[in-house]
């Protein structure tokens, strides 16, 4: 590959294309499994050009809930955006509506790249190994819950409110609550912090009732 993607050899590209095609053509894989595998292959390539993609948004919710939440597109944050764009183009993705939205028609996979700076803690990121040597990086559970809480408060979105609760209830033993509340206190609207405090109580009640 020319330009910033020159750290990727043609063999690397061909290898990943073959891996992606094998998954795409296998009808035994669910949409969730297919996307996870494809994202791990894309991550493998992107890391070669110094870009670390982190899955955020609905697809991150899907991962933490083992596919219980369904979403079509994959939102990811990455660094070295120019090199990453070249990689996506070489894999058959085309730009839609500016530089944020990418789509691969053959895979029916839309990718949205909202920002190239991760406004979350890298220490909290979840690393999920898929196949031997292939991983995906996922926003930390605390930052994901905080993101859903923002949606619940600022957009008054009931779906965001519910998934804040479900994520907190299902992952309660994994959550660093001190970090979560510290971040929530930095929000311009105190309602986010209050919402999360109330959600923690609600989550513990929901677990005890179960």
């Amino acid at each position: 590959m020319a330009g910033s993607g020159s750290l990727i050899s043609d063999d690397d590209l061909e290898f990943v294309k073959q891996k992606i095609n094998a998954v795409a053509d296998d009808p035994s894989f669910s949409y969730f499994v297919k996307n996870m595998k494809i994202m791990s292959y894309i991550t493998w390539l992107l890391e070669k050009v110094g870009s670390k993609p982190v899955i955020v948004g609905g697809h991150a919710v899907e991962i933490y809930t083992m596919g219980s939440y369904t979403t079509v597109d994959v939102d990811m944050i990455l660094s070295n955006r120019a090199a990453a764009h070249e990689v996506l183009e070489s894999l058959g993705f085309t730009k839609q509506q500016g530089v944020r939205h990418w789509y691969n028609e053959e895979l029916a996979l839309p990718i949205e790249i909202p920002d190239d700076t991760l406004a979350v803690s890298y220490d909290k990121i979840l690393e999920v190994a898929i196949d031997e040597g292939f991983v995906v990086y996922v926003i930390g559970i605390e930052d994901l819950i905080l993101d859903r809480a923002r949606g619940a408060i600022y957009w008054k979105d009931s779906v965001y409110r519910e998934w804040s609760l479900l994520l907190m209830s299902s992952q309660i033993n994994e959550i660093d609550f001190a970090y979560l509340f510290e971040q929530a206190q930095k929000e311009p609207d105190a309602k986010v912090y209050e919402f999360l405090k109330a959600t923690e109580l609600e989550a513990r009640n929901l677990i005890n009732r179960d």
Partner: protein, 78 residues
């Protein structure tokens, strides 16, 4: 306990996304619709069932060796 199909619980999100889009379009056209009443939140029973389903999926994955959790490093054998 109220009996509900898990797939229906999940598909509610998709339906509500569509409803919300419609609400936004209608709102931009000047018609007043109360969003909360048009898109009702899930009941406590539904949320409880959904939580149970999520935990069961995770437990099954772990039992079958499809999911191994080590703090912030997971292995998914899928």
């Amino acid at each position: 306990m109220k009996k509900m199909d898990f797939k229906n619980l999940i598909s509610v999100d998709q339906k509500r996304k569509f409803q919300k889009m419609q609400i936004r379009i209608t709102a931009s056209a000047g018609t007043k619709i109360r969003e909360e009443s048009a898109v009702p939140p899930r009941s406590e029973v539904e949320l409880g069932l959904l939580l149970r389903a999520i935990k069961k999926t995770e437990a099954d994955y772990q039992k079958e060796g499809k999911l191994i959790k080590h703090g912030r490093k997971w292995k998914l054998n899928i």
